[in-house]
């Protein structure tokens, strides 16, 4: 099998960066996220390929909302370069699959989503040791075989990364970098079991009759409206569109929004369909567990567990699903 020696990781990233914008998981300042390898500063940044669930999932790379001082959005011009997302995990690949499904469907085919997506190569890092909040296997995701990845790398410890090309795009890239890979037999690790299992069975149907259930009030009461659950969610895609006047030019740009904001749905005149915290809370979970499923046949969740780990109020999706399962209607 083809193996990438860990000592050659930076050489590989430099090589890939010659033709592409390569996004890698880094610890930068206070947080982790996917940043361009070209911006890597060894005194400040740390490459964290072994980190599960970096703080920000790489959901902004293809749909490219407003970047600092670069408000060029709807044209897709800035976002249409060749990109590689390196070291992405199964759950976050599923997040991109959701974007493909949602932004890539016929409604906006004429928009530049497909153009950007076609120029993106996904090099996924298989997960063998799930975190306590991980539950991707419960939503049908295989952490060892990310569906949608062009290349899968497998960390075998000091032997390096096993490198498997899964698509033509991946194969082509592998050929170009073949001199950095060595051919040898290594032992693939044995995956650990998931600590967290979430049972989605029947949840969507049951939620149909739970509009007035006290559960929404109970959890929303403690919600601090920090929106971390939505911003760090690889599958949350709600957008805000804004107009700006900047340096004598007019721009329209999109940026991520959150359904937890009180004025997210505020209309001129003061009416809002999502005035109550409990309504907003219910709308968020029903969107994930019922509405998306009604439209696309599966829940809008990748099981990454970020929202569980990050919520300061402990309102976790796994607890809520368990309460729905137990609710007597």
């Amino acid at each position: 099998m083809r193996v990438l020696n860990k000592a050659k990781i930076e050489t590989m990233l430099n090589r890939l960066s010659a033709d592409n914008d390569v996004y890698v998981p880094m610890l930068r300042g206070p947080g982790t996220g996917f940043f361009s390898w070209k911006s890597y500063d060894e005194d400040y940044d740390e490459l964290v390929l072994d980190r599960l669930n970096v703080f920000m999932p790489p959901k902004q790379i293809i749909i490219s909302p407003a970047e600092k001082n670069n408000i060029d959005l709807m044209s897709g011009g800035a976002g249409a370069s060749k990109k590689i997302i390196f070291g992405i995990r199964s759950c976050d690949v599923q997040g991109i699959n959701f974007q493909d499904e949602f932004f890539g469907e016929k409604e906006i085919e004429s928009d530049s989503y497909h153009g950007r997506r076609d120029q993106t190569i996904i090099i996924a890092n298989a997960c063998y040791y799930p975190a306590p909040s991980c539950f991707c296997s419960s939503v049908g995701i295989d952490p060892l075989h990310p569906v949608g990845a062009d290349i899968i790398i497998r960390d075998t410890g000091k032997e390096g990364y096993v490198w498997e090309a899964c698509t033509d795009k991946g194969e082509l890239l592998t050929e170009k970098t073949a001199d950095l890979l060595e051919e040898k037999e290594v032992t693939i690790p044995i995956p650990l079991p998931f600590a967290l299992q979430v049972n989605f069975d029947g949840v969507s149907e049951k939620l149909a009759d739970m509009d007035d259930h006290p559960l929404w009030g109970k959890y929303s009461e403690a919600c601090q409206t920090c929106m971390l659950c939505t911003y760090t969610c690889p599958s949350c895609y709600c957008l805000d569109l804004q107009a700006a006047h900047w340096r004598k030019a007019n721009y329209e740009f999109s940026c991520f929004d959150s359904c937890a904001y009180k004025n997210e749905a505020l209309s001129t005149g003061g009416s809002s369909s999502l005035e109550e915290a409990a309504t907003r809370f219910r709308n968020r979970f029903l969107h994930k567990l019922r509405f998306y499923l009604q439209n696309y046949g599966k829940p809008l969740c990748t099981g990454c567990g970020r929202c569980i780990a990050i919520c300061p109020s402990g309102a976790s999706i796994s607890k809520i699903i368990a309460e729905v399962q137990e609710a007597n209607l």
């Binding site: 004429s110 709600c238 957008l239 569109l241 369909s273 709308n283 969107h287 509405f291």
Partner: protein, 283 residues
């Protein structure tokens, strides 16, 4: 969802507005103006609309979804806009000849075909007459297809009555048509009815047999009108309303206007009450 399609026809990229010229502006009330727009080259429209469909109107300050008036001769687009917020404030300051952005059309529009052969009861309050006006105009254009037409319109004061020419001169002259106008509080030079729309509706009590009621107005008016209609014997499949939700993209992608699995910009804004009853109570 993949089988649903937005109806925007004005641009290759659905989120990019088309620049149009404002060819006329009419003051309807102290805070409502009608803007008439057409393509900047003077030829034709950025898009064609069906009654009840909307367009996204934009200025450099932002965008808003506005109901677009259906025209018999589609030579220009009309948006009747009330001054209520940032964008509408800016819009009210523009002059004839200036350019604004529009994109559309969005939404499903009124079920003009399904209503054929029915008696029509239009109930509107304030600027809520603007979307219904498209349907009313369509009914008069195809007068023989519809039964008796009853129009009930109310506003806060005489000065706030929109589309006065149509209300008092044009529409009452149409055959088999009755127009009722009310204002909330008595005024010295007002000889008409005084009172709120729901109470006046119950007083008039238009028969529910073979009729369809179409309602649009402020949320509080809609709420009580729906109760009155229920009392008067209207079934949920005889009542149509058009919803106002915050919309950002118009193509079902931004997630702003959802009610349940429906996006108001794609599946709405026009709903039978029967459909709304199946949705979560956010409307």
């Amino acid at each position: 969802m993949p089988d649903k399609d937005h109806k925007c026809t004005c641009s290759e990229q659905p989120l990019v507005p088309k620049v149009v010229e404002v060819i006329d502006i009419i003051d309807r009330t102290p805070d409502v103006k009608s803007f008439f727009v057409r393509n900047v080259d003077g030829n034709g429209l950025p898009f064609q609309v069906d009654p009840g469909q909307c367009g996204m109107v934009s200025m450099p300050i932002g965008e808003a979804m506005i109901s677009c008036t259906w025209q018999e001769e589609q030579e220009y687009l009309e948006f009747a806009i009330k001054r209520v917020g940032l964008l509408t404030d800016e819009l009210h300051q523009i002059e004839i000849g200036q350019q604004i952005g529009v994109r559309g059309p969005y939404g499903n529009g009124f079920p003009v075909e399904a209503c054929k052969g029915k008696d029509m009861v239009f109930i509107a309050g304030g600027i809520g007459l603007a979307p219904l006006r498209s349907f009313i105009k369509y009914c008069f254009k195809h007068r023989e297809d519809y039964g008796k037409i009853t129009i009930l319109y109310g506003s806060r004061s005489q000065a706030d009555l929109c589309f006065k020419e149509e209300l008092f001169d044009l529409w009452p002259k149409e055959s088999n048509t009755e127009v009722f106008v009310t204002i909330d509080n008595a005024e010295p030079d007002w000889n008409g009815h005084v009172g709120f729309v729901p109470a006046y509706l119950e007083e008039l009590n238009p028969s529910s047999a073979g009729a369809v009621a179409v309602v649009c107005g402020p949320p509080i008016m809609i709420k009580f009108v729906l109760q009155s209609l229920e009392k008067m014997g209207y079934n949920d499949d005889q009542v149509i309303t058009t919803l106002e939700m915050r919309m950002k993209c118009g193509i079902g992608k931004c997630g702003r206007c959802n009610i349940g699995s429906e996006f108001i910009c794609l599946d709405g804004p026009v709903y039978y009450l029967k459909q709304l009853r199946d949705l979560p109570p956010e409307w």
